[in-house]
């Protein structure tokens, strides 16, 4: 329902037929609760430019915790005015209230004058003329209170508390106390407020890549200075550009080791800013650090290039590569206890500590090729039956006469990884290491057990080099 409809005397909850009877040329639209909820979440994200702590109050409310933030705008009134003006520019009707408690803010936003700035001293006085429904009561409690003639918050507050509790349970008194600040209320913020948060707003929207890069550098400087001062380092830095039209452009960079080097963080972020579309301009930028850990101060070495701990030296490189190529493109191979050649190697992040699961490493008695094909390639082989290595084979159109050979090494499929029916004695591979006359060394296998009926199939799985 928009403002024009309200001016014609329509109200929420009215039947559609009644409304069309009153206003014959009324435009009706179906309610879309899901779309409304999604829009509310988007709005909450947008509000992160004002405060990192935004709580949803479905279906149509938002709580912003602006404790300690108002001075950034020059006062609570200026903050509220800025928020209202920005939303009004996007044709979002809004009622903004600044109050010492969430309960009071809720009450005033719905039943009080728009734009109220409530001081803690006169909270009780300003709340008492409001209707009792302003206390976020359960519907049946509200109906009962109205029937008792307790029309206003003030009238309700004047009643003896024990009577209220006896009649309505603790809920009504709790809401009353919360609104008046006698009891604290915990809000569920949409994103857990991270103390490692920095924000830069611009007087004029910025859009050129150079400006974006400079903004990224500045905000990284700011946050990293705080991390440095408190002896912490972050593992992930989430950069968000808030565009004029409300779209939020996000960029995250991860570090292999916790860090707080503003130059390094900015250097990881800046190359990826080219992909962002600043649209009509960026009005604010925020940076949050996640995975913040204690990081002791490092002594600056005088001879910088000498004697760097390997992890310390490699970490920036790993960060650069991971951020440029992707998380799964940089790894360290680690042994894994498995007979399956493909599964004998696990990929681990390069700087992760070695896992305890597979100590020792690969068995040196079982030679493995340097190049392992993802899919074994079929070869034509001539081999004496039943268990001898091939004497001749043909791979990619070229013949190879086997001069030396070792094997077989029988590898069976890991039957416990499959269902019982699929497992069988046929799923074995006899691997041979062979060398041809030119010295090429190959890793071949024969599929299945020898059976006289069907000719065995041979595959090339890797090259030793």
């Amino acid at each position: 329902m928009n403002a024009a409809a309200a001016a014609l005397g329509l109200f929420v909850g009215q039947k559609a037929t009644d409304a069309t009877a009153l206003v014959p040329d009324l435009v009706l639209a179906d309610a879309e609760p899901e779309a409304d909820a999604a829009a509310l979440i988007a709005l909450a994200d947008w509000c992160a430019r004002f405060s990192p702590a935004v709580a949803l109050d479905p279906p149509d409310g938002l709580f912003l915790d602006i404790t300690g933030l108002a001075h950034l705008w020059g006062g609570e009134a200026a903050l509220a005015a800025d928020l209202t003006a920005r939303l009004a520019r996007n044709s979002l009707p809004v009622r903004t209230v600044v109050a010492p408690t969430p309960g009071a803010a809720w009450a005033l936003a719905r039943f009080g004058p728009h734009g109220t700035i409530l001081n803690p001293e006169d909270a009780a006085a300003r709340l008492s003329p409001l209707p009792a429904a302003a206390l976020r009561l359960a519907p049946e409690d509200a109906a009962q209170i109205a029937r008792l003639g307790l029309a206003t918050v003030g009238a309700l507050g004047a009643q003896p508390r024990d009577q209220l509790v006896r009649r309505f349970g603790a809920g009504v008194v709790l809401r009353l106390d919360q609104a008046l600040g006698r009891r604290r209320e915990a809000l569920t913020f949409r994103r857990p407020p991270t103390p490692w948060f920095a924000r830069l707003a611009f007087a004029e929207p910025i859009s050129t890549p150079e400006d974006l890069a400079r903004a990224a550098r500045d905000i990284a400087d700011r946050l990293c200075a705080r991390l440095e001062a408190e002896g912490r380092g972050g593992r992930r830095f989430d950069l968000a550009f808030h565009r004029l039209d409300g779209v939020i452009l996000r960029q995250s960079v991860g570090l292999a080791l916790p860090g707080r080097d503003a130059v390094a963080v900015a250097r990881l972020m800046i190359p990826r800013l080219d992909t962002l579309d600043p649209g009509f301009g960026i009005e604010a930028v925020t940076l949050a650090a996640a995975g913040v850990e204690v990081l002791s101060a490092r002594q600056v070495r005088l001879d910088e290039s000498r004697d760097i701990a390997p992890e310390e030296g490699i970490a920036p490189l790993v960060d650069r590569l991971v951020n440029r190529l992707g998380d799964d493109a940089v790894w360290r191979a680690e042994p894994h206890a498995s007979h399956d050649p493909e599964r004998a190697v696990r990929r681990r992040p390069p700087l992760s500590p070695p896992s305890v699961a597979a100590p020792g490493g690969w068995d040196p008695e079982r030679p493995r090729p340097l190049r392992l094909f993802r899919r074994p390639e079929p070869i034509e082989a001539v081999a004496p039956v039943p268990d001898d290595p091939p004497v001749f084979f043909r791979w990619r159109g070229a013949g190879h006469r086997v001069r030396r050979a070792e094997g077989p090494e029988r590898l069976a499929e890991e039957w416990w990884r499959r269902s019982f029916e699929e497992a069988g004695p046929g799923r074995v591979r006899d691997y041979y290491r062979v060398e041809d006359e030119a010295g090429g060394r190959f890793w071949l296998f024969r599929d299945g057990l020898y059976a006289a009926a069907d000719p065995p199939r041979w595959w090339l799985h890797g090259l030793f080099g």
């Binding site: 190529l325 690969w362 493995r368 090729p369 070229a398 030396r404 050979a405 070792e406 010295g439 090429g440």
Partner: protein, 259 residues
């Protein structure tokens, strides 16, 4: 300044110029004068990059060149981490471990195209804590090679560029893989190994330690040559089995094509 001292200073400057403008970063000695003698400083120069190529199918599979580069880089892994940049993820760590290469010191990087490969290689070579970087790329032009060399000189890392073409890209004229800015250029192929374990009457004999036919086609202020080298477990990574006098006569080219 005396005349002798001035002469000495000029000699030192000439030596620096001959080394490509970079201060000497030490050498990797093979412990055999037949191989070490090919290099001006008595061993494979470190702090620069080396091109390793193959012939025939090896240009696609890069198995023997890869093994040779791993054997050369293995002694360097004690000084820092080693980075291996590749486009195809078919490098198999247990096989590296079998060549005596400490796979836990290896960071593998998979890239999507040539430009990324060269950029990642250059980045790795210039980074602190990296002793060596191995990259599999199709070709390195003069500019890219010069950039790699500058990256090597920053901290003294040693680079190995394995010339490898994507599968199916054709093998014509690939032996002439450019590497003009490289300190050395090698052509590596497999060579028949020595006798391994052999139980009489039970099929063919087993395989000995891997051998490679290694040809040094280019070496700055050095002397090209060709050798048969064998992997050893000793202090030096490779052992000279034989020195090949004339490559054209010694190389079994038709057989190689078949192999």
């Amino acid at each position: 300044m005396s005349r002798a001292a001035r002469l000495e200073a000029v000699r030192a400057r000439v030596a620096v110029l001959e080394a490509g403008g970079a201060p000497a970063r030490g050498v990797l000695s093979f412990g055999d004068v037949r191989l070490d003698g090919a290099f001006p400083a008595g061993g494979l120069p470190l702090g620069c990059w080396h091109a390793v190529g193959g012939e025939g199918l090896e240009i696609e599979t890069a198995a023997a060149p890869g093994a040779f580069a791993a054997a050369l880089a293995a002694p360097l892994a004690g000084r820092g981490a080693v980075v291996w940049v590749m486009r195809r993820g078919d490098l198999y760590a247990p096989g590296l471990a079998g060549l005596g290469f400490p796979a836990d010191r290896l960071i593998q990087v998979q890239v999507r195209d040539e430009a990324q490969a060269l950029a990642a290689l250059e980045d790795a070579l210039g980074a602190a804590g990296i002793a060596a970087a191995i990259g599999e790329v199709g070709s390195v032009d003069l500019t890219a090679g010069r950039r790699l060399q500058l990256a090597c000189e920053r901290r003294g890392a040693t680079g190995f560029v394995i010339h490898r073409r994507p599968f199916g890209a054709g093998t014509g004229a690939a032996a002439a893989a450019p590497g003009a800015a490289a300190a050395t250029r090698w052509i590596v192929g497999a060579a028949p190994s020595g006798p391994g374990f052999h139980a009489p009457g039970l099929g063919p004999p087993g395989l000995g330690p891997p051998r490679w036919r290694v040809e040094l086609t280019r070496c700055r202020s050095g002397r090209p040559g060709a050798w048969i080298l064998e992997k050893t477990d000793g202090a030096h990574p490779l052992r000279v089995v034989a020195e090949l006098g004339d490559r054209q006569l010694e190389t079994p080219q038709p057989l190689r094509r078949a192999g």
